[in-house]
Subunit: 279 residues, 2 copies
């Protein structure tokens, strides 16, 4: 999906919501667990219920891998279903990959190749190994790399805020700055956690036009209003993710309708924020 198509979809739905599919059989409604395809059945119900309010879906790959090969079959079914929809959505493999060049090429093929099992639009990538670990993900037309800059977890403070003596930049700023040479606003986004909303100003100073994928709203405690204050730009420029807050709103028979309600609530807030900035 191109940047223009993504922006058009945000405009149409008045939403920049990404629904995180961190699907965990332990947290799913009991009545689904009998099925061989329980994970897919859950995802399909969540997708059908939230589709009017969401522009993106983000399966968290760890949750599929932890069920072994069977889990990846469920991921493939989920992706096949997303690709089959008339209402095209932006799909993100939340995979945090990154390795030496010849190996990142293989990860890019695994997740982004339209001929492969999954054919995602985008993949999250860790920047630690530098340029040749990131650029192989930018070679597919209309596909995206989403580079970790400032993550939403406590461990973000261990290394991401280190101040580089030579440039005076913090590590996440250095990542933003350096990686501008590796891609462009049409094939590279950044992860910036909602729990670090006060640092979004520093992020926007370096990447004013880039799309940001913002996890951490909801269960992790981030505020949508704060994220929008500093993060919205003239093209919206945000995809805000919610996982647990939506998909586990209920673990009863009403899980899908409760997920729809939570997604709708966020969409209404997003529509209001978009109106404020005249989008």
């Amino acid at each position: 999906m191109t940047r223009q198509e993504l922006i058009a979809s945000i405009r149409e739905k008045h939403s920049f919501l990404c629904v995180g599919l961190d699907t965990d059989p332990k947290k799913m409604p009991q009545h689904l667990l009998d099925s061989e395809d329980a994970i897919f059945a859950f995802n399909k119900a969540i997708i059908d219920a939230t589709l009017p309010y969401a522009v993106a879906y983000k399966p968290n790959i760890a949750f599929y891998e932890s069920a072994g090969i069977k889990g990846l079959v469920q991921l493939k079914k989920t992706m096949d279903y997303l690709h089959s929809l008339d209402d095209k959505v932006f799909t993100i493999a939340d995979a945090k990959r990154g390795d030496i060049g010849n190996t990142s090429q293989q990860y890019a093929k695994a997740f982004l190749d339209p001929q492969g099992d999954f054919g995602f639009d985008a993949i999250t990538v860790a920047p630690y190994m530098g340029e040749d670990s990131v650029t192989p993900f930018t070679v597919y037309d209309g596909k995206w790399v989403i580079l970790l800059a400032l993550t939403s977890n406590k461990g973000a403070f261990d290394f991401q805020l280190i101040e580089d003596k030579a440039s005076g930049k913090r590590l996440f700023e250095k990542v933003l700055d350096t990686s501008r040479k590796w891609g462009n606003d049409g094939n590279m986004m950044y992860v910036v956690g909602a729990t670090k909303a006060d640092m979004l100003e520093s992020v926007r100073a370096i990447v004013p036009d880039a799309f940001l994928l913002v996890p951490g709203v909801g269960a992790q405690g981030g505020s949508l209003t704060e994220v929008c204050r500093y993060g919205l730009n003239r093209d919206c420029g945000l995809l805000v993710n919610s996982s647990r807050g939506i998909i586990y709103a209920s673990n009863g028979a009403d899980f899908a309708s409760r997920a729809a309600e939570e997604a709708h609530k966020l969409q209404l807030q997003m529509a209001e924020e978009l109106t404020k900035v005249g989008f």
Copy 2:
């Protein structure tokens, strides 16, 4: 596999060789390609041929994921075969994972859980997201996290050598130093590229007793002698990986015997280095 078992295996084989299974159908002998199980057939032949000379095997997960679900079936067959051997080897998932705590837990389950599809002894993990992204990999008994410190690729220079203004440490030193609190020499190793052998002295100053996984000997240009000069410690403390130099020594019918020759050459050099330090 515990540290003591690993050391015993090194002592028995006079070897600290790890064979990297970066198995790529494009580089495999033609005669294997007819089989549905070509990747496993190749791996099995390589394992059988190199087993007298190697203490560890390291499937590079990207190469299996790039073949989709079928590729992961080949990985499972390879792991089942390694687990079935009387000659127990140390198995490393070269996966470069790492995410927020609840997600790293799922990756740990995927790769390390003895009840799972793979049951590796160890997994490589990227440190960018800090403590809660790493510690979930240390909870399984006898299992290891292998944290990236200084990688073998060109991109290592982008961020890993940044000097932290507050501590005067370079990022890779900060990773080594900080992570000492997250594990111990019995459940945490580090990746240090052979192409940066001159920096092994700085690494050993911080982690004198830790095992180091050293890629980059062979195709990437690193020198085994240089690695040993600074890297060997009283318990050996090294696992030196070679992938392409061994598994693609020939792409003809003699690929397995040529792989054995290359592995044997490295093993003989390793035995000599071990003797030098009186191991």
